[in-house]
Symmetry: C3
């Protein structure tokens, strides 16, 4: 009973990005060791403000101040798990949205249990690859870590089940990104395989999702806008990039320069359905 | 009773940079998770040597070996606070200067208390934005994290009070940087707004301040030289940068290539007074 | 009784790289805070998959899944030391190779003791600079942290002794890299001094060594291939680089684009012996 995905219109992405830049969301990022810098730089390039606060006392204080909270379990430790829980509860108490990036869930036992625990606490959105979303939903997955061995389309039923179970918008990203609330589904394409050769593009997307869900308006559409903004910047960056090094610089430049024209002129979806 | 700032001369910056490159200071960086890489790369580009040592035992041993110690509380944890204290005491015992970057002090309670505690231990310099310096000095601040909602000029009285209280050189940075010992004040301008779209430019400046204060000579002037070297490299990098991605690469190149001519020919201060 | 090093042939590097790209090794990186991102990006650029897993429970589970384990003690803490030990034992139990990067051993007491302890657990390879290898072998060293004050050639006897003592392939890297199993020795040259102005090129090399030793075939030759792939990409990147910023982007691009022609046409060793 999977719904047929509809193509997310570029105009809606452009509207959301304009709203984003006006609001300049302050994103509390509790993320993994590897992607701290690119996550912050992606948010800054788009006009948001990142802040990484990790001590349990401070994290609880800060997630009530911030516009949104990101929880990424990539390099989970006991201390961080405790801080994340404190931040999630404080965010919920302050009515601030929080977003989960379930990195490598399915492949590793402890973080899988931790994520099963925290998805009970009303995440606004969950962003993962096919393996992660399938594992988190309880369906089988073949992940071997941070890569996804499954295609995003194959995980769509899992994404829908997970959305219905948690109340979150679920984005399962890959060659095509599917964004669902369990009833409706949007499809976003674009990007470039080169993005998978740069660490943190997926993790940074989750931070951008957190920034977008802090905006008023339709949350399903906002999560799709986050996906489209990143895939559009990826496409633009790949035009001149010779490899992953020049891509990264061009990607940040593209996020910074991205305007309505880019988002409305480029094709949003080739083969999505 | 704020002193009238005098413009820091480019020639003094050029002299200090020459001295810096000959000495190649070894900087013990205890800094936050997000900026480790750019901090190290900025120091390396300038010809200094960074070393990040964080275990309490090792940090105490290392800060006695290093030329200077940087303490940045951006992602403070209990374990790191303990290590920082051990390193500060060892640096003081070995007569090595240490520098404080009070990231987000004012916005977050625990780190504010921690910084109030450690500024009693004779920092050689303190580098922060207007909100942070105002909060640390006990004057009010409107910070919402790592950004500064106040202009550096507005924080000059706070910087002077803090310098007199702690004995440190205090640099309050922004569109114009003010560097004060509580009696005299130097002004450094330059840089570019694009620098605020790259994470870690401020934190890396604090590491460069630590490297400069390890040199013999006038410490007030050395801290101003650190500010000017960074703002000058920022200006040069912005000439060709299309956005924050290309800026970062060009900024590191500029630090590496920076010479007397750049520091003496470019205007040091436009509107400072 | 040092053996005369023989020049490592470019053809062998090209063969190994082809094997590497087909296998796409999954490398479990337990490395320091500063180099997480560049380590991951170097592995991704070459076609391998990095994964940083640091909690003791998960690290033990993951090193049995991964192709190889990297242990880098650059920012060692008690918690990480415990996790590293768990991962090393799990890797050995699963017959997966692990590689040691003894950052700053010799300069700092605690990590020196830790590395002395773990080299008893059969590392497949050890990669360090001259000071580190001399200190680890018990010969004297003059390191002041992460730099090496000794030349790699001077450390060759120490490298050979260490290889015989531990059973590991030992790579002592510098202007010329020497790779030894205690009986035979290969020499690899190339690279560029600019590489020393970018943080993590050495640490990332150790991760690439871990990826290469996971491949079937001659392990001495595979470690030399890792050194040659990195020095060749460094040479190519320096052709157009203006400084360390543009170098880093070009270096990742070169690793991505590196082919047989680059590895066989460029001179492997100028002055090695």
């Amino acid at each position: 009973m999977t719904t047929r995905p509809s193509v997310f219109p570029g105009l809606a992405a452009a509207d959301a990005l304009r709203q984003f830049r006006q609001a300049s969301p302050l994103v509390h990022c509790m993320t993994n060791d590897v992607v701290q810098s690119i996550t912050a730089n992606v948010l800054l390039a788009l006009g948001a403000s990142p802040a990484m606060v990790i001590d349990a006392r401070e994290a609880a204080q800060f997630s009530a101040i911030a516009s949104a909270l990101l929880v990424n379990v990539g390099t989970l430790t006991s201390a961080r798990a405790e801080s994340m829980l404190a931040a999630i509860h404080a965010a919920n108490a302050a009515n601030k949205p929080w977003v989960l990036d379930p990195v490598a869930v399915g492949a590793l036992r402890w973080r899988s249990e931790f994520c099963q625990e925290i998805i009970r606490f009303r995440p606004a959105a969950i962003r993962g690859n096919a393996s992660e979303i399938m594992a988190l939903s309880g369906l089988s997955a073949s992940g071997r870590g941070v890569d996804s061995a499954d295609s995003s389309g194959a995980a769509l039923p899992a994404a829908e089940a997970l959305a219905r179970q948690t109340g979150a918008i679920v984005a399962v990203t890959g060659e095509i990104d599917y964004i669902t609330d369990g009833a409706q589904c949007l499809a976003v394409s674009g990007g470039d395989p080169l993005m998978t050769r740069v660490v943190g593009t997926g993790c940074a997307l989750s931070a951008v999702v957190a920034a977008f869900v802090s905006l008023p308006g339709n949350r399903l559409s906002h999560v799709a806008a986050a996906c489209r903004v990143m895939s559009c910047a990826g496409e633009l960056a790949c035009r001149d990039a010779k490899g992953p090094g020049s891509f990264t610089a061009a990607f940040l430049d593209s996020l910074y320069l991205l305007d309505d024209r880019h988002l409305t002129e480029t094709a949003t979806v080739g083969g999505a359905q």
